[in-house]
């Protein structure tokens, strides 16, 4: 990769405007600022001692530490996977910090009012006010009906969680992962690692050893969660990896919609983010999990950015259980992410809606796995990949129908859109059908942003970038529609912003 390229030579034939447009792009990442705040770090590098230190920082019980240590020992035996269509300098796991928390968080604040104003200011600036009001990302909720509870994770710790009391009245538990370990050990013990086992894959195993915090949700039987829940992840510290863990349990007949957002400052050195998300869905329950991933993507030459290696999986354990993953992936230098559905219960359903945008030097290898185990299970995959600049975008998806998954169905639609001729789109479907009553349908298309469409828009008065954004948003429509309303609007704007400078 061309990493050290600060001065772009202006070649003959490349007009200055184009170069300027490309340069300007590196300034379009809106969340690239940094919060000046006193931090406490664990020593650099990874060892058993660091694992113990993280555990003790969280005041964890013995069983949690043992769990981490066994993960760490397992990790030492694993090899970094290389099958994905991504190419990055190898990560020196000893050259980074695994734990960083603001000094003001050493003593966990008793309430949101006691949180360091600098941290509150940070989230406010990100459009995530940590106040108990019905607002998200500056979008006003109609008639104050829609409230969103937020768990705010800053580097290695959760800063605070809003609306906890109100949720508790409904029986819903929504707290940081570290609190859950202390306050709800039985639930954590029962479900942690039950969807993504410790030894699942290299990054999940690493996460199991060193995860620092994250969010925990439990929706009791028959409860429809009275508001949207969300976690906002912010990486601020330099040379620090973020390893968080999310565990959501939807008990019988319950429902929850959960949103996840993430950003990071601009840094010249790439940073690692390796998260694990486990969803457990029991009989007749439903989880909607939406992500708007906007980690710093690196500059136009591929310098810096987040390496995003994430394991997300939903276990539809109960009969007639449902999960819907919706993701808008616009950020990160490297994305390696396959939110999956294990359709174990009979008549369970999994859906995956994805928009993955890769511009400049970004690389995305993302998709899903639909593993049909139960009878009459259904899955649907709608993937929209957009590549611009010199980016590479791969859809990788597995659909597997097991012998017992009789009469099951999958429908996959996988569309790629190219902007310019230096980028690439790849589709890698894996399909296994081991019974003869199930059906799998796969449709794939690749198209280019059509000059005639752009000219049509421009002849009606839209600027070139607005025209691209409009056409691309149209291309992504089915996925945008799957998002909760507030997120859909944010995502539309994000699509436009991440493609700035991709034409002309």
């Amino acid at each position: 990769m061309g990493i050290e390229m600060n001065n772009v030579d202006v070649k003959d034939g490349v007009d200055a405007d184009t170069v300027e447009a490309v340069r300007a792009l590196s300034s379009t990442y809106k969340y690239g600022w940094n919060t000046e705040i006193e931090m406490e770090y664990a020593p650099k590098g990874l060892s058993e001692d660091i694992v113990r230190l993280i555990s003790s920082k969280n005041n964890e019980p013995e069983w949690m530490l043992d769990w981490r240590l066994s993960a760490y020992r397992r990790w030492l035996e694993l090899k970094e996977p290389n099958w994905a269509m991504v190419d990055y300098p190898s990560i020196d796991f000893q050259d980074q910090y695994y734990y960083a928390r603001p000094k003001s968080m050493v003593e966990k604040p008793k309430s949101l009012d006691d949180v360091d104003p600098k941290l509150l200011e940070t989230y406010k600036k990100l459009g995530i006010p940590l106040k108990e009001q019905a607002l998200l990302a500056g979008v006003e909720a109609p008639e104050g009906e829609r409230k969103v509870a937020v768990d705010a994770v800053f580097d290695s710790v959760s800063v605070g969680t809003t609306f906890q009391a109100e949720l508790k009245k409904a029986g819903v538990i929504f707290c940081s992962f570290s609190e859950a370990v202390k306050d709800y050990p039985e639930l954590v013990k029962k479900y942690l690692g039950s969807v993504v086992p410790v030894s699942d894959n290299y990054y999940a195993t690493l996460n199991s050893a060193v995860f620092s915090d994250g969010s925990f949700v439990y929706i009791p039987e028959g409860v429809r969660c009275p508001m949207e829940l969300s976690t906002y992840f912010r990486i601020n510290a330099e040379n620090t990896g973020q390893f968080e863990r999310t565990l959501i349990i939807a008990d019988k007949g319950s429902y929850v919609s959960y949103l996840e957002g993430c950003t990071a400052p601009k840094r010249d050195v790439a940073q690692l983010h390796a998260a694990v998300v486990e969803l457990v869905i029991l009989d007749d329950a439903e989880i909607k999990y939406s992500t708007v991933q906007n980690w710093y993507p690196g500059d136009e030459n591929g310098k810096g950015g987040i390496y995003n290696f994430v394991t997300k999986r939903a276990d539809c354990r109960g009969n007639r259980s449902k999960v819907m993953w919706t993701q808008v992936e616009t950020g990160s230098a490297v994305t390696w992410k396959y939110p999956s559905c294990i359709l174990r219960g009979n008549e369970s359903q999994g859906e995956f809606y994805s928009i993955a945008i890769a511009n400049n030097m970004q690389q995305a290898d993302t998709g899903t796995k639909m593993v049909h185990l139960g009878k009459n299970t259904k899955s649907r995959i709608v993937s929209k990949g957009i590549s611009a600049g010199k980016a590479q975008n791969t859809y990788r998806g597995l659909v597997s129908m097991h012998p017992k998954a009789k009469d099951s169905r999958n429908f996959t639609q996988c569309d790629s859109l190219l902007i310019g001729d230096k980028c690439g789109a790849h589709t890698v479907p894996y399909i296994e059908v081991k019974n003869n009553s199930s059906r799998v349908e796969h449709e794939a298309t690749t198209s280019k942003v059509d000059d005639d469409q752009l000219f049509y828009c421009r002849s009606r008065g839209m600027g070139e970038e607005d025209a691209v954004a409009l056409v691309v948003n149209g291309f992504c429509k089915e996925v945008l529609q799957a998002l909760p309303m507030e997120f859909a609007m944010e995502a539309q704007q994000l699509v436009a912003i991440s493609l700035e400078g991709s034409v002309g």
Binding site: S459, M462, N473, F475, E478
Partner: protein, 251 residues
């Protein structure tokens, strides 16, 4: 309103000359028609005026109200009041017709430094104009031109024109593909917009459109040039005798 002088245009990619010295002078409030054989350069002229890529102007000029069109971006030309109803309107999957229209109206306003149209005013205006063109609310919700019949696409172009209220309207074969009733609707749509300040350039092959939209001047284009201009009777002559005689005269 629109002054075209000695316009020469060739393709950017290959050495093919399409327009070979077009001269046209259109005054405010007038309706001009252009007729001419297939491939004579009528659509090319409309594309070059609206700023489509792929064409190179080798000499000549085009000014809209004294402003040099050829140096402007397509969106600036639109904001300056130029509108082209396309011969082949483009489909944009996933983008609602209404969203597109609103984006067009407000983009132009923004470029002109005017305030955006409020959602309420916009809706009212669209509904009203759509009704006159017999465009139902379903068509307003559907993605731009996707799955529209030929005639529906053309009516949709006129709806855009009605919403954008341009000063200089170019209609490229808006009548082709229309049934008799739709043709009347479109003509009414155009006539409703006719006023002292607005100018039309109507490209067509058929006299029947000109029965409804009465032109002030008719031009005949052949092989990249205007070979004859005259009154409405010129269109009738073409209708009755074809182009052979006119072509002979000019060569």
């Amino acid at each position: 309103m629109l002054e075209i002088k000695n316009l020469h245009v060739q393709l950017e990619e290959e050495d093919k000359k399409i327009l070979k010295g077009v001269n046209l002078s259109l005054d405010p409030g007038k309706v001009h028609a252009i007729m001419g054989p297939n491939g004579s350069g009528k659509s090319t002229l409309s594309y070059v005026l609206s700023g489509k890529k792929g064409y190179e102007v080798t000499s000549g000029s085009a000014h809209l109200e004294g402003n040099d069109l050829l140096v402007m971006d397509p969106e600036e030309r639109a904001a300056a009041g130029l509108f082209l109803a396309f011969q082949y309107p483009v489909e944009i999957p996933g983008v609602g017709n209404m969203t597109f229209l609103r984006s067009a109206v407000n983009s132009q306003r923004k470029l002109r430094g005017e305030p955006e149209m409020t959602a309420g005013d916009f809706l009212k205006a669209v509904r009203d104009k759509a009704k006159h063109l017999k465009i139902d609310s379903d068509m307003l919700k559907r993605p731009v031109n996707v799955g529209f019949s030929g005639g529906e696409k053309k009516r949709n172009e006129i709806l855009q024109m009605a919403m954008l209220e341009p000063k200089m309207c170019i209609l490229d074969e808006t009548d082709s593909g229309l049934d008799v009733d739709a043709m009347k609707l479109v003509a009414e749509g155009v006539n409703a917009l006719r006023d002292k300040k607005r100018t039309f350039l109507v490209i067509t092959h058929y006299q029947r459109l000109l029965d409804h939209i009465k032109p002030d001047i008719v031009h005949i284009m052949a092989a990249g040039r205007i070979i004859k201009s005259g009154g409405p009777e010129l269109a009738l002559e073409v209708e009755n005798n074809g182009y052979a005689k006119l072509l002979e005269e000019s060569s």
